[in-house]
């Protein structure tokens, strides 16, 4: 914190140091309302100087995060408004695209009527097709696939989103194992035997010591059997 404060706000690195101070204030223990509010002010000052460059967009993103998870009383509606604004004004920026993923999560997991959730889901499918950033594409499809399972949306759509997440590429080993098994299982349930077998076998190749290995072997044997 002291390091950031030593850099004058008027110097070339000044704006960045203000951004650093704002972030650091969120980590200072104990967390206080005062520090959170001060952090908001500092992020806002970064945005006020330029709201369209990398730092300005990232500062705005963290304003959304503060409203979503840092505040003692989170304000999801305020966070949604910030994320919507970011994605609307900077749809091609990776951070704004990640904000869109947060927005999708917040809206789908809000306590709303099923019909409204289904409508939101359909809207997000259209908007999500425009995402380009690798992380945002992957995370968007993971969220949408999970929403299909959680809220009982179409299994075909679930499979499409799982496959899209796989195509984007997950980076964590355990996430990868879970994703491969999920694709195989959903494909099997939808009667897409070839796809199921392809992913079951890929699982055995890539995760040979996983606790699901024997179960997957059994699934392969059952799937390969001709229908009676």
């Amino acid at each position: 914190m002291a390091g950031f404060k030593q850099i004058p706000a008027s110097s070339p690195q000044g704006r960045e140091s203000v951004y650093g101070q704002a972030m650091m204030l969120l980590t200072v223990q104990p967390v206080t309302r005062g520090n959170i509010n001060l952090s908001v002010q500092l992020f806002q000052s970064v945005i006020d100087k330029n709201s369209s460059d990398d730092l300005g967009i990232t500062a705005k993103y963290f304003l959304g995060r503060i409203e979503q998870i840092y505040r003692f009383e989170p304000d999801p509606a305020r966070a949604i408004a910030i994320y919507e604004d970011l994605f609307h004004n900077h749809p091609e920026h990776p951070v704004a695209q990640q904000a869109f993923v947060k927005l999708v999560l917040l809206k789908l997991y809000d306590r709303i009527p099923d019909a409204e959730r289904a409508k939101d889901f359909a809207t997000f499918e259209v908007q999500g097709a425009k995402l380009q950033d690798h992380d945002a594409v992957r995370d968007f499809h993971l969220v949408m696939a999970q929403a299909c399972a959680k809220f009982g949306f179409s299994e075909e759509k679930r499979l499409d989103h799982l496959l899209a997440a796989d195509a984007a590429g997950v980076v964590k080993d355990d996430s990868k194992a879970n994703l491969i098994v999920s694709i195989a299982e959903v494909a099997r349930k939808l009667g897409r035997k070839d796809l199921a077998l392809q992913y079951y076998r890929r699982f055995l190749d890539e995760c040979p010591r996983d606790y699901r290995t024997y179960t997957v072997q059994q699934r392969i044997a059952a799937t390969e059997q001709p229908a009676p």
């Binding site: 969120l26 990232t58 999560l105 879970n178 098994v181 010591r209």
Partner: protein, 537 residues
């Protein structure tokens, strides 16, 4: 001078002598290390079992041979003081460079605060495996379980923290002489019903044949769950399959779905499968000595080694200790769980559970504030290399954790059984539910206990515990998310400035982690909202 004064004088003299000795040790230790260029790596553990300290010592000496400027010190801490000792060292900033994972180190809060995630290094080969079959294998994949589970991989923080030395499997150790004497042969039980027959035989004829009281199984609060939890999990295999999701996840670490199912009255503890699981737990408890849940591990071992129990269920790590203490020959067999054709308990099971992914343990964590972090990491690599893990296994009598290490003939019965079904859940879904169950356990396991008495007693306390556990999990998820968020912000900035080559990859990982954490958190908040419990502040 009266007797009391003499005793006081002796006491004071002893105290002064101890203080002087302690001072001498502290100063001599400081004198040894200050002003020298020697780097000292300290690692602490609580494995006082026969052979283990010798094994660690041998590895330390091997390391010193190839690193002349490094001294490796082993700190063996008794198990009963290990949690307090560890917490004190961590809080005081005096912790050793490497600490074995233990009950006091495992909370998300402590892991995140005091220990270095090792994830960024596990994707590259371990240089100490050069010239072996694992030369090109990423460090993570050199372990039998690929570090996919507890305690090495933390499912909440989504990071690898521990590097293990052994695999632990649970087996029944039995007194071979006693077994032959009581049953008339040494035909081991292959099914659950055959196992129960052996237990009944011991109860009916044990005392008459041996001339003293013999219990079938030596139980204690740490040994009994080795059997009962395994049997419980088997009974709820099919039930768990309804909740595990399309990724076929294991129950351990994913209990939230069960908590909410019970709170929403979609699942009841009176479900036939759960009742059956508690019934088999009750049955197994009847073959242990009365009051076993009040006894410690040492009591159970004593009962067994004195020939007062035919069997004891414990981990592979106890092999050397038990064989060296017991004045009789010891045999080993797997815990026989019911199969589908079991006439009483076959209805709810798929079959024997897999031991693939059996936790690799004896895991060391890297202290975040270590003054010699890189050196300690290097020693950790050395310790878990194929060659050193072979040395460890040979000297400790424990199973190896690393692929390709030969297993001694007498340890082969302990090798994990890879073929088997995904197990069901344990009966504990959080700290408060654990407490409620534990407080009422006597109603299940006591001689006049029953499943009905036990389940009836849980009542509203259990639901309240489920609520508080769910709130705690949501709070923990939120705290984990906050930590990841700060790390993400830092890496985003580094990535933007191209200051750290791996920063972009780290940003991608952290985004993926955050998405998973937020899915769990938002799901938990939604579920609690629907139940009428707003998020905790």
């Amino acid at each position: 001078m009266n007797r009391e004064k003499i005793m006081n004088l002796i006491g004071l003299t002893l105290l002064a002598a101890c203080f002087a000795m302690a001072l001498t040790r502290v100063f001599s230790r400081t004198a040894t290390h200050l002003g020298s260029d020697v780097v000292t790596i300290r690692f602490a553990h609580y494995q006082l079992e026969s052979g283990v300290r010798g094994a660690f010592d041998a590895i330390a000496r091997e390391y010193e041979k190839i690193h002349p400027g490094v001294v490796v010190e082993q700190m063996s801490i008794p198990e009963n003081v290990y949690p307090t000792w560890t917490v004190t060292q961590l809080a005081g900033g005096t912790a050793p460079d490497l600490i074995e994972y233990g009950p006091s180190t495992g909370s998300d809060e402590r892991l995140a605060r005091y220990f270095q995630p090792l994830t960024e290094w596990v994707g590259s080969p371990n240089p100490y495996n050069k010239g072996t079959s694992l030369e090109k294998t990423p460090w993570r994949q050199t372990f039998l379980d690929g570090l996919t589970g507890w305690p090495n991989y933390n499912t909440n923080l989504l990071e690898i923290y521990g590097m293990p030395n052994t695999v632990v499997t649970i087996r029944f150790f039995y007194n071979r002489d006693l077994y032959r004497k009581i049953t008339g042969n040494e035909t081991l039980p292959r099914t659950y019903q055959e196992f129960i027959e052996v237990c009944r035989k011991v109860e009916q004829d044990g005392e008459r044949i041996t001339g003293h009281k013999v219990v079938p199984i030596a139980g204690s609060k740490s040994n009994a769950p080795r059997i009962t939890e395994s049997l419980f999990c088997g009974q709820v295999q099919k039930l768990w399959a309804q909740y595990q999701g399309d990724d076929l996840r294991q129950a351990n670490g994913n209990e939230a779905v069960l908590r909410f199912a019970v709170l929403k009255h979609k699942l009841s503890l009176y479900d036939p499968a759960i009742q059956s699981a508690y019934q088999i737990t009750h049955d197994a408890g009847q073959y242990m000595q009365p009051g076993f849940m009040q006894l410690n591990r040492e009591d159970a071992v004593f009962t067994f080694t004195q020939g007062n129990a035919l069997m004891i269920a414990t981990g592979s790590y106890d092999t050397v200790s038990l064989t060296s203490q017991a004045p009789f020959e010891i045999g080993v067999f797997p815990v026989p769980s019911p199969t589908r054709d079991d006439p009483v308990y076959g209805k709810f099971v798929f079959g024997p559970a897999t031991e693939a992914g059996a936790p690799t343990q004896g895991s060391f964590l890297l202290y975040m504030e270590s003054k010699h972090k890189q050196q300690a990491l290097d020693f950790l690599r050395f310790m878990t290399s194929q060659k050193m893990n072979a040395l460890f296994a040979a000297k400790s009598g424990w199973l190896p954790a690393v692929i390709g290490v030969d297993v001694d003939e007498k340890m082969k019965p302990f090798m994990p059984e890879m073929d088997g079904y995904i197990n069901g859940f344990r009966p504990y879904w959080g700290a408060d539910t654990y407490r409620v169950i534990d407080n009422n356990q006597y109603l299940l396991l006591g001689s006049d206990g029953s499943v009905k008495k036990f389940l009836d007693a849980l009542g509203k306390d259990f639901d309240a515990a489920l609520v508080s556990d769910s709130q705690s999990v949501n709070k923990t998820s939120r705290n984990n998310l906050l930590r990841q968020d700060i790390a993400l912000a830092s890496y985003m900035q580094l990535s933007r400035q191209n200051a750290v080559p791996a920063a972009a990859k780290k940003v991608s990982e952290l985004n993926e982690i955050e998405t998973k954490l937020e899915l769990d958190l938002d799901d938990g908040i939604l579920e609690m909202n629907e139940l009428g419990f707003p998020p905790m502040k």
